[in-house]
């Protein structure tokens, strides 16, 4: 149990740091979607299913879709 939670937290930190270092903005958006998804799984493991459903549906699906549409309208590569 503690191994699962530790590996999830480490993957969330790695995805958050990778969001900063990606120059391709589409990859950065996918990494931040990974952060939201891991947060949803951790909320479920902490016995809060309502918060997990809200985070998964809004944070991982709709926010990522809005970001991808915004990248499509502006530029894709940083600097």
């Amino acid at each position: 149990m503690i191994i699962i939670v530790t590996s999830l937290v480490i993957s969330m930190l790695a995805a958050a740091i990778a969001t900063y270092f990606f120059k391709d903005l589409l990859s950065a958006v996918i990494a931040s979607c990974m952060v939201s998804l891991t947060a949803a799984v951790l909320f479920f493991l902490l016995h809060a299913p309502d918060v997990a459903m809200a985070e998964a549906s809004i944070g991982a699906a709709l926010v990522t879709a809005v970001f991808v549409i915004a990248i499509r309208r502006t530029k894709r590569y940083e600097e």
Partner: protein
Amino acid sequence: MRKLITVILLVIIALGIFISLQNIPFGISRAKLADHYIKNGQEETGAANIVTSVVVSYRGFDTLGEVTVLFLATIGLSAVLATLKRKEERKTEKASLILATGCKFLFPLILLYGAYIFIHGHLTPGGGFQGGAVIASAFVLMYLGCHEEKRIHEAGSILSESVGGLVFLCIGLIGLAIGAGYFLYNFLPKGEFNTLLSAGIIPIIYIAIGFKVGAELSKIIDLLMEES
């Protein structure tokens, strides 16, 4: 140089949050109000889901404020995006047959799942906001898969959003008019526990919120995809 200062500030903030969270014992109950909700929530409201009974019945006025904030955000977004013009015409390919058929097959199933979530909000985890977000993600699928073929029916979206908000308000005002006389008073009979028609006004409010949030989030996606 600026990045170094940013990293140092982030480390200081993280240390501060870590130290202040160390002093909070995790898992023991400290709040008397939370104990009252857990002990008496089930027979006072009749809902099996305690989170739903807190969100809709005990703190229903805050939910009304949250619904109003979502409404204002949608209005602001449509006011800003209605005046933008599309810069250049982008070349989009027509979707292949497999993709279009798959999207059209999945769309009613995801809508059904979202409707299930907000209708059973007082029995299973979920509720109006989660069901509305799932419904909006079904519309995102239609916009991504069958681009330039179908769009959201304007009048239907506006109608479901307005009627959802008005139903919430009217049920609250009916509770004010009759009964013990406070806003959002639970005046319908509580019914048998753990069935669909129980917990008074809670399923009606969550159905109204589900329609409203689903219509609003779908309209935001529609505005962003087709701003012309």
